[in-house]
Amino acid sequence: MTAARSVFSAFVAEHRRRRTLVVQPRMGFSEPEAMRRGLRAVAGAGVPAVGTVTLDSYTRTGQHDLAAMSVQSGVPLNGFPLVALGPAVTAGLVADLPGFPVQVRHGSAQPEDIFAVMLEAGLDASEGGPVSYCLPYSSVPLRTAAKAWSRSASLLAGQADRGVDCHLESFGGCMLGQLCPPGLLVALSVLECLFFAEHGVRSVSASYAQQTSPEQDAEALWAMRRLCAEELAGVDHHLVLYTYMGLFPESAAGARELVAESVRLAVRTGTERLIVKTTAEAHRIPTVEENISALQLAHATALAEPAPAGPPGETEVYAQARLLVDEVRSLAPTLTEALPAAFERGLLDVPYCLHPDNGGETRCVLDDEGRLQWWHTGRMPLPPALGGRRGDDRVSATRLLADLSYHRRRLDPVLS
């Protein structure tokens, strides 16, 4: 049986054909009525946008009893408690929005129950991955997460039997949100897409989070596009960029500028979809109206940007990512085995990640031009010629804090 294309990926493909950037909020409310109002507002914002249902932290960590208790006692959560509220309530969110693409965003290392309810509610797109939703967002062992994600990806792939092709996005390009060198981000994103494809998922997207250098970020997005083209033959795929995920400017003007920079980066690299932040980001969970303004600003900025320039030639980002992808795949016949093995051996090691299964030997810093550079590549197989480094000194708190607040120092006005 030929499955219908995912509503989500069909929408992105149509806008790729028209060369318009698809924009998406990071929206999640615990109250179904607020969530429904948010989705309607996005659908009616007059811009090419897909909807988002972001789940709350209790649902993300499988504590559905706590989520249900909070709902019953009226305590606001930081997202939509999809499992506690169940498929009927979830389906009701989009009942009057036929054909409107919605992605469920969750952050779970073990998402089987989330996917089951999501599918029952008729939603066909989600995101995450065995590494990207385990190491930063849980203390679940990586092998446990890899097995859970195997079952979860297979569950989505199996929907093809009833005529639905689900879409799954890798969150691998966003590890810890900031201060992860692009070569590792690109490799993780592509590896997770390959993991999804290995389980039969036929529509995927590879993510990358805006970092601190527009030139380096552009190289990363081109490197990711090239690697996806080389590795994902026969799998529908697109790229998604996230507006900076780290310490966000506190001023409205600074926040708007950083969002605009992410839009320009997306358009000039031909990136199909952008997850947009709002001006409230540094302070609290944004309102529906703040989300809509951000989407409209992003769309207007995208329209004013010229068509994409061509890809650069060979770059260090591509060379690092290519090497890491090849090394990891050579470890085992499947990525379900190879990904945890790679972290055990320190072949993959995310800087500053405190998860027990991460090596924790690697560090990185910003250079004078704002480019992310390795400070220490630990046991990762990166030779000096490809940017590998084994620095002796530790990175000081002052340097780390300065690097973490790079955009804030650059874009927030100095108060006198």
């Binding site: 932290s57 209790y58 993300r60 960590t61 504590q63 706590l66 909070s70 305590v75 606001p76 959560l77 930081n78 952050g107 930063p136 967002y137 849980s138 203390s139 966003c174 810890l176 949100g177 900031q178 995920m245 780290g246 310490l247 966000f248 506190e250 409230a280 980001e281 540094a282 302070h283 609290r284 969970i285 500053y352 990640c353 405190l354 998860h355 027990p356 000081s396 708190a397 002052t398 780390l400 804090l401 300065a402 973490l404 607040s405």
Partner: protein
């Protein structure tokens, strides 16, 4: 989900005001934010103290077990996902009803509710449940919480030890 909210004045002398202390540093079970923990560990180490960093998403049981094993001078909870007043309350209630850990100094800091402004009711509630100090990070004053924490450690260094 990965923003963090700690800043300090750069170039501030990172000198310990007394003997080194041992801290267990952790987030709460539902909170995946990590940069606040990474930065706090470095700041505390540069203050001259030892830090056992348990990381993000730590279940209450594991947190208590680590405190039993490590016997720290103080437990520091840092959380910014907005569920901190609920999860942080569960942590301190479990700690205060544990025969061995009932007297362990414990502090909590970060963004404790989902609304941006500092909320003195949440703060009072957490103090009443048994925290020794609460460092609530409101909109735009993230640097203040870390300063208050430094002052707390300096002022209580003898009693903590």
């Amino acid at each position: 989900m990965t923003t963090f909210q700690i800043e300090q004045t750069p170039d501030r002398p990172a000198v310990s005001a007394g003997p080194p202390l041992k801290f267990v540093l952790s987030s709460v079970e539902s909170d995946s934010h990590m940069w606040n923990l990474v930065a706090l560990q470095l700041i505390m180490e540069e203050m001259g103290h030892e830090v056992v960093n348990l990381g993000a998403c730590v279940p209450v049981g594991r947190l208590l077990a680590a405190c039993h094993d490590e016997r720290p001078d103080c437990l520091v909870i840092s959380t910014i996902n907005g569920h901190g007043h609920v999860d942080g309350a569960r942590v301190i209630s479990a700690l205060r009803s544990d025969a061995v850990l009932a007297g362990l100094p414990a502090v909590i800091g970060g963004k404790l509710g989902v609304h941006g402004d500092a909320n003195s009711a949440l703060e009072a509630e957490l103090l009443a449940l048994g925290y020794d100090a609460v460092f609530h990070v409101g909109a735009g004053d993230s640097g203040q919480a870390i300063e208050s924490f430094r002052e707390f450690v300096a002022a209580n260094i003898r009693t903590l030890r």
